[in-house]
């Protein structure tokens, strides 16, 4: 089985088949990432498609300065970030119009809908949003998050701490 590096090098010499192989290899990872971000399957598929179109353009000039995995995560995060920006107002409305469940829940019982959580995450400042997104959707260690987002592990932790505090407030879980 060829490595990612070999496939990318083949693609750079003009082989579309090598790119398709990369798509087969990473489709699950990318699609799962976006499935956690949006409740709409079509939207998740569109976002995954956007990522691979970006990769198709960018990989021709890829210089192997970072791992392909890390690079792919970065493209995912940037695409998700654009998606959040695009839907900022819609997200705000979702958050304000969360359906009333009809009974009073304690904070222990409460489970949120994905839309509610992402609407709250979408309202965070950029750095916090990216870190929180990576942490709660992918459960990645802070070290990896720091690598992907070009920040130190400590900075990722601090951003996560502030971000999650604000998400808590926005979701109405103050305990």
């Amino acid at each position: 089985m060829k490595t990612d590096r070999e496939l990318i090098q083949e693609f750079q010499t003009g082989s579309d088949a090598a790119f398709n192989e990369l798509v087969r290899r990473y489709l699950d990872l990318v699609y799962r990432f976006f499935q956690k971000i949006t409740p709409d399957k079509m939207e998740a598929e569109d976002l995954a498609q956007t990522v691979f179109i970006k990769l198709f353009k960018a990989l021709k000039k890829f210089r192997f300065e970072s791992e392909f995995n890390t690079y792919l995560y970065r493209v995912n995060v940037n695409t998700a970030n654009s998606y959040f920006k695009r839907n900022k107002w819609r997200n705000m409305l979702h958050l304000d119009q969360a359906p009333d469940t009809g009974y009073v829940e304690t904070s222990q019982e409460k489970q949120w809908r994905k839309e509610e959580v992402w609407a709250a995450v979408g309202r965070l400042p950029k750095k916090q949003r990216l870190v929180v997104m990576m942490r709660i959707s992918q459960a990645l260690p802070f070290k990896d998050i720091g690598n992907i987002l070009d920040m130190t592990e400590g900075s990722a932790k601090v951003n996560y701490h502030h971000g999650i505090k604000r998400v808590k407030l926005l979701l109405g879980n103050n305990k």
């Binding site: 798509v23 198709f56 409460k110 959580v117 709660i136 808590k168």
Partner: protein, 119 residues
Amino acid sequence: MNFEAKLQKTFSSTSEMLEPEQFINKLTTARYAQALKRSQAISGYLALIVVLFVGILGYNELDQGAILMEEVIITAQALILTRMRTVNILMIWPFISWNRKRIFGWLFPFLMNWHMIKL
């Protein structure tokens, strides 16, 4: 259960996958559609630049004193028939008729004066 664990639980139920071959086909179509769109946009801009460039050049070379404000068509036809620069007039014609009011409202009198001063 702490807050982070609760959040992660919210996302734990998603596990549907896509059919890779179908996705690759869609991706290829989307790529071609995007490339086509880009090349159409580029050729559109190039065409616009050429039309404007030729139009501006042609307009500068017109005998502007001969054009009357309200009778552009007749004058242009007369110019085509009697005078010179047939090709230039034909090229800037869409531009003139599209922007007639704007051009002849203030730009043309100004150019006319400039022309007379030059003479």
